[in-house]
Amino acid sequence: MSRIGVFVCHCGENISRTVDVERVAAEAARLPGVAYATDYKYMCSDPGQNLLKNAVTEHRLDGIVVAACSPRMHEKTFRNAAKSAGLNPFLCEMANIREHCSWVHEDRDEATAKASDIVAMMVARVKKDKRLVPITVPVTKRSLVIGGGIAGIQAALDIADAGHQVVLVEREPSIGGHMAQLSETFPTLDCSQCIMTPKMVDVANHPNITLHTYSEIEAVDGYIGNFQITVRKKARSVIEEKCTGCGVCSAKCPQKKIPNTFDKNLGTRPAIYVPFPQAVPNTPVIDRANCTWFKTGKCGVCQKVCGPGAINYEQEDQLIVEPVGAIVVATGFELYSITEKPKGSPIKGYGEFGHGTIPDVIDGLTFERLASASGPTGGKILRPSDGKEPKQVVFVQCVGSRAREKGISYCSKICCMYTAKHTMLYKHKIHDGQAYVFFMDARTPGKSYDEFWRRAVEEEEAVYIRGMVSRLYQKGDKVVVMGSDISVGVQVEIEADLVVLATAVQPRAGADTLAQKLGISYDSYHFYSEAHAKLKPVECATAGIYLAGACQGPKDIPDTVSQASAAAAKVMTLFAKDELEREPIVAKVNEKNCVACLYCKKVCPYGAVEEKEIRDRQGNLIRVVAYVNPGVCGGCGTCQASCPSKSVELDGYTDEQIMAMIEAL
């Protein structure tokens, strides 16, 4: 006969307001196998835990049910308490009578009856609980960072500085990300590249960092502490070890009219190129889609002029397998485009803004390139259509963002500040120019942020108009901006030379595909989801994977860098131990019954199921059965559900336990 202890928690008033906890305890005491039942105001408090520990000794309990909140909150607390009282911690279970009962019901009698049922079910389950021992798995103290923007750079440097190996994977030919494209940064107006390039150089020179640029994640296998990452290193057509970065190939390349994506297509570049002067690594890459050699098989100029003989047209994509223990995802963002969207996309385009066909209507990042000294105009603000200096510039905020009717309801967070910055940069370069800003409201919470915005309005004389723009159209060489000023209730029409749209921050295209490879969750916009909005802001729900930067949600540079360092700290915490202790809630195969149809292997999302050969003493194969690797098993129970003969079961959730719970109802 079992000797189960039941502890019913009031949770202050959270539970006792709706559930008669004393009655629940009294009814639990009458359940067969329950040796002791009581209620207490705060079970998670020290006295509450002591109550539990003392009861274990006093009443010789061999199982515990704590009827309180979700096991997500306090299962660990009570299991530890049970452990310190000498009980196997996995003989302690929680009955959730808060989230599953008191918080969702109003009728006291009915809620109390339901709470009693929940307790009775858990008592039935605990009776059939096994004594489990935690599983230990080794940790590979090597980290993967996906994305070489400022988030990825910071996370990689922090982890590498702590003495651990880091593999940094970047999709583009150079690290740097969006920050490398910016001219100046708010709220201090220091040059973006000046503060960023030292970090890029650090990455290039760091002995602990292995850098794979022009590379993508092909496949992710394994689990926390033991991931196997397959990286596709795309063919650069340039041998990195031989290239000296002299730049002769780019200078001599006859194909020079390719739109430069780094400059938002404002300038052009050759077919063999480095994206920008400070690129890391300073190794060019051949854009095969536009290279004459690859298109026609004739040319080969770069190969002829290359002194060290670094050009290799036959180079192929390489697949590299990197074993790592932790992953930091820092894939960043891209800007919403106002062009017409393909059918089926939940996000609509802006027909009223000309669907992106008016040349002098640009987005914020394009303006950054215009204002940047390294940009296509050498830092002169000239409009794209005719290269004239714009004397009237209209900035429009919240394009896409906070526009439910367009499909995006969130705030992109950085636009208020960068638009204020743009007005200043503009005023500093074109003194007789006038900047107008259409805005809903200025959101400037951040250190020195509001002061910065006020400076734009009060000192730099940007005219802020509270209201939205309804239409943009070309009239002669002007762009007519039709909007409303809701603070005075009038319609406004401005003939602008240039219009800059603060378009919404969106996750990178393909963010969902990467998430599926990694097995992490994402929201409806494809921003990656953190495990807890407040208390686990950098962890993913998938163990061993952490988030940094705008891939998780719109963020400015200070927030991104902070989060990157936080993610790095989490990785270091993981690496502080040689072995990882995992919950032993894993599936086990009943080898006697298993017929090796391997349905479990087909459905296992963790790749934990293998084939196992059973041999006799002479080594003759008797049969093949399925085997669950406990280190890899995530304890989801999918195999259990799919097994036709019920030959695989999850410890703690066996069919016997589930049936007992149902019967206890």
Partner: protein, 305 residues
């Protein structure tokens, strides 16, 4: 209804066709055994009563002349290659005589890791049709799409011209689908009420190869074992669900049922659902993952309400 087809006996279709196939099977079996390529041949032999047939396992070239093919060769011999039949598998490489529908079961077993293609030699027969339990032509044969098996090592026989048959089973299924849920429920309740839980349907099914059937477990008991309505219903639902996406449509369950429960109707319905939802048809290629073992972003979610 096509009355000519109704009255047509399978032997009347083409008696010579069956005889030619019989000869060819014997030749192929003899060749395979003589060369030592296989250790045994699984086929059919004449039954004790006139006009019947039964499964046969032949291990010497001399015995191969007892193998036959006739309209009575209804058994799906794939059953004899499942792991449960250890004594046959232990002999080594096996040759097996299959009709198109039986071959689909073999393909399914390969996908489920029960069988390796290299371990078997498949003698496919071009089958014009076999007898049903009470009808001259089995219902499944009236709408057969695999008269000629694809992918056998050797295929014997040629298909004679067949008359057009009305698809009796599909018509019956359409009748059921047109019913209200309550009517359908009572249709099946009536049929399942007769079930005596002999499990003949399970024993004859090539896909019911589990060492221990979950329906035989008593700790915890998933399905009530006595032939009472609730347990009967549970058993037949478990059977239909476990076969969804796997059943190759040999209809052996229905043939073996002593209580004449139209079990293949359920199988056909499940197969139809799988085809409509996932474009999946069991038994045509060795698939690592069937549609029910795979998750795709664009899977049909409309059933979640």
């Amino acid at each position: 209804m096509n009355t000519t087809a109704q009255q047509l006996d399978t032997t009347a279709i083409a008696p010579a066709v069956y005889a030619t196939i019989t000869d060819a099977i014997c030749r192929e079996a003899e060749k395979a055994l003589e060369s030592g390529a296989v250790a045994a041949v699984v086929g059919w032999q004449a039954g004790r009563r006139q006009g019947t047939a039964m499964p046969a396992i032949v291990t010497t070239p001399a015995d191969t002349d007892k193998l036959i093919f006739s309209p009575a060769c209804v058994n799906n011999l794939a059953l004899y290659l499942s792991k449960a039949k250890k004594e046959i598998r232990a002999r080594g490489k096996i040759a097996i005589v299959v009709k198109g529908c039986d071959l689909k079961a073999l393909v399914g077993l390969m996908g489920e890791n029960q069988l390796k293609r290299a371990d078997i030699h498949v003698i496919g027969v071009v089958c014009p049709g076999v007898r049903g339990t009470s009808e001259p032509l089995a219902k499944k044969c009236r709408e057969c799409t695999v008269h000629t098996p694809e992918g056998a090592d050797v295929t014997v026989g040629t298909l004679p011209e067949l008359p057009h048959f009305t698809p009796a089973e599909s018509e019956e299924l359409a009748r059921l689908e047109a019913m209200t849920p309550a009517e359908r429920w009572s249709f099946w309740k009536e049929h399942f009420a007769r079930c005596i839980r002999c499990y003949a349907c399970r024993q004859v099914c090539p896909f019911c190869y589990c060492e221990q059937c979950l329906c035989d477990r008593n700790r915890p008991q998933a399905v009530e074992t006595t032939p009472r309505p609730a347990g009967n219903m549970a058993w037949h639902i478990v059977r239909a669900m476990h076969l969804a996406g796997r059943c190759a449509g040999c209809a052996e369950c229905e043939r073996a049922c002593p209580m004449d429960i139209p079990l293949n109707l359920l199988n056909r319905k499940m197969a139809k659902e799988l085809k409509e939802l996932y474009g999946h048809e069991a038994g045509f290629e060795v698939k690592e993952k069937g549609p029910l073992a795979e998750y795709r972003e664009n899977d049909d979610q409309s059933f979640i309400k």
